[in-house]
C-alpha cells in the first residue's frame, strides 16, 4: 500500500501557514518524494488573498486592522478567504504520482472526492460542483466562498469548501478550507462592504455558503475533523497516511519564506518582492 506523509495539526499564523505550504511544494518539486497532506488551523483570524488579487480593491484593510485580522497573500490564485476556526488542508505532490496527472480539474476532482468521503464520516453529505456558475459582477465576488466554481464542495447547494491550486514543473500544491463556522456579516465587511447596510447581500451570502457547525448536530472543531478527512483520503485512494515532520530543508525554506515573502509587506500588499 502506498504511503503519504501527514503533518500533525497545528495552528499557525497566516505567514507561517503559507510559508510551510510553499516550502513543501518547492521541496516536492526539487526532491520528489511522497505526497504530503497537511491539515491545519489559524492562530489568529486571517484573510488570505489570491496571488494576483487587488488588495486595495477587494479587502477593507482598515476594518481588518481595527479587528486584528492579519492579511497574507497566497501563492495560489483565486479570491479572498477569511480564516478563523476553519480547517485548512494542503496537498503537495508530483503530478506523476497516482492518482494525479497534469489535468488541473482532474486533480480537483480526486481531492474533492476524498474530502467528501471525509466529511461524510462526520455526518455531512457534500457533493462536488461539476459545472459552477461563472463569476458574476456581484460585489460579493471578491470573496472565495461567494463564488461556487467547478469542483468545489457544496452541501445542499451551499459552498462549504473552496480550493486553489498552484502548479510548478511536474508538481502541484492544492489547498483549501472547510468552514467550521461562517459569519456573512463579517465576511462582507472584510470585502469592504458594510454588511449592516446590505441586508440583501448578507441574505444572499448566508444562502450561498454553509459550514460544518450548521450541518452537524454536535459541535465539531477543526481538530476533531482532522481524522475524518484523513481517513477520507486513505479509504478513497487506498493509501496509508504516516505522521511525519517537516524536513530540515523544508523548515529552513519556510523560515526564509516567512522573512522574505509572506512576512513581507510588499508581497502581501502588491504581490511582488
Amino acid at each position: 500500500m502506498e504511503t503519504w506523509r501527514l503533518l500533525s495539526f497545528q495552528r499557525l499564523s497566516g505567514a507561517e501557514n503559507m510559508a510551510v505550504d510553499e516550502a513543501i511544494f518547492r521541496e516536492t518539486a526539487t526532491r520528489g518524494g511522497e505526497p504530503t497532506l497537511r491539515l491545519y488551523g489559524w492562530i489568529r483570524p486571517t484573510v488570505t488573498v489570491g496571488y494576483s488579487q487587488d488588495l486595495e480593491e477587494d479587502v477593507n484593510r482598515a476594518f481588518c486592522e481595527e479587528r486584528g485580522i492579519d492579511i497574507v497573500r497566497r501563492p495560489t490564485g483565486g479570491k479572498a478567504v477569511y480564516h478563523s476556526t476553519d480547517l485548512t488542508y494542503s496537498l503537495a505532490s508530483s503530478q506523476h504520482r497516482f492518482p494525479f496527472s497534469a489535468d488541473i480539474l482532474g486533480t480537483y476532482r480526486v481531492i474533492g472526492r476524498c474530502l467528501i468521503k471525509g466529511l461524510g464520516k462526520a455526518g455531512i453529505s457534500a457533493e462536488l460542483v461539476e459545472e459552477g456558475r461563472a463569476p458574476g459582477r456581484c460585489f460579493e465576488e471578491a470573496g472565495c466562498f461567494a463564488v461556487p466554481f467547478r469542483n468545489e464542495l457544496l452541501v445542499k447547494g451551499a459552498k462549504i469548501c473552496g480550493s486553489a491550486q498552484v502548479r510548478g514543473r511536474d508538481c502541484f500544491l492544492q489547498h483549501g478550507s472547510v468552514l467550521i463556522d461562517f459569519d456573512p456579516v463579517i465576511s462582507l465587511q472584510i470585502m469592504g462592504k458594510d454588511g449592516r447596510d446590505e441586508e440583501e447581500a448578507v441574505r444572499r451570502l448566508a444562502g450561498a455558503v454553509t459550514c460544518v457547525s450548521r450541518e452537524t448536530s454536535v459541535p465539531v472543531t477543526a481538530e476533531r475533523l482532522v481524522p475524518y478527512l484523513g481517513s477520507g483520503f486513505e479509504e478513497l485512494l487506498n493509501i496509508r497516511l504516516l505522521k511525519g515532520d517537516l524536513t530540515g530543508r523544508e523548515r529552513a525554506l519556510a523560515e526564509r519564506l516567512i522573512t522574505e515573502k509572506y512576512g513581507n509587506r510588499r508581497w502581501n500588499e502588491r504581490g511582488r518582492l
Binding site: I104, L105, Q165, V166, G168
Partner: protein, 132 residues
C-alpha cells in the same frame, strides 16, 4: 500531419519555441491554454532577466490554477510581450503569434535538441491525455 504548427519546437512543459538563429521566442501551446481554462493574468520575468531551461520564466493565473511557466531553453530575456498584461484574451485566440510571451538570447544551442518536433509533441500530448 500534426495539428501543431510545423515551424516550432515544443517542450514537455507545454511551451513552444520559435528559433531564429540564437534568439528563441517562447509561448504556451494551445493544449496548455485549454488545460488552464479562462486566463486571468500573466506575470513574466523582465527584460535582462536570466532564465534556465526547466525553470520558471513567469506565472499564469487562470480560473482553475496558478501555473509556473517553464523555460524550454536557457539565456537572457531580450523582449517581453507586454501587450499580454493588458489583454490576456489574446492567449485564447492566438497562442502561437500574438500570444508570444518572451524572446530569449540563448546560451546553448544544444538545448534545442531536448525539444520535440510537432509530431512527437502531439504524441506526448496524447500520452498525457491518456493518463487523465
Amino acid at each position: 500531419m500534426s495539428t501543431y504548427p510545423d515551424d516550432l519546437l515544443y517542450s514537455r512543459d507545454h511551451t513552444w519555441a520559435r528559433v531564429d538563429d540564437t534568439v528563441v521566442t517562447i509561448g504556451i501551446t494551445d493544449f496548455a491554454q485549454e488545460n488552464l481554462g479562462d486566463i486571468i493574468s500573466v506575470d513574466l520575468y523582465t527584460v535582462d532577466s536570466a532564465v534556465k531551461q526547466g525553470e520558471p520564466f513567469g506565472l499564469i493565473e487562470s480560473s482553475k490554477a496558478t501555473v509556473e511557466l517553464i523555460a524550454p531553453v536557457s539565456g537572457d530575456i531580450i523582449a517581453v510581450n507586454e501587450d499580454l498584461f493588458d489583454d490576456v484574451g489574446v492567449l485564447e485566440c492566438d497562442v502561437y503569434d500574438a500570444g508570444w510571451m518572451i524572446a530569449v538570447a540563448i546560451d546553448r544551442v544544444d538545448e534545442l535538441d531536448d525539444l520535440l518536433d510537432p509530431d512527437d509533441y502531439e504524441e506526448y500530448v496524447d500520452q498525457v491525455q491518456g493518463r487523465r
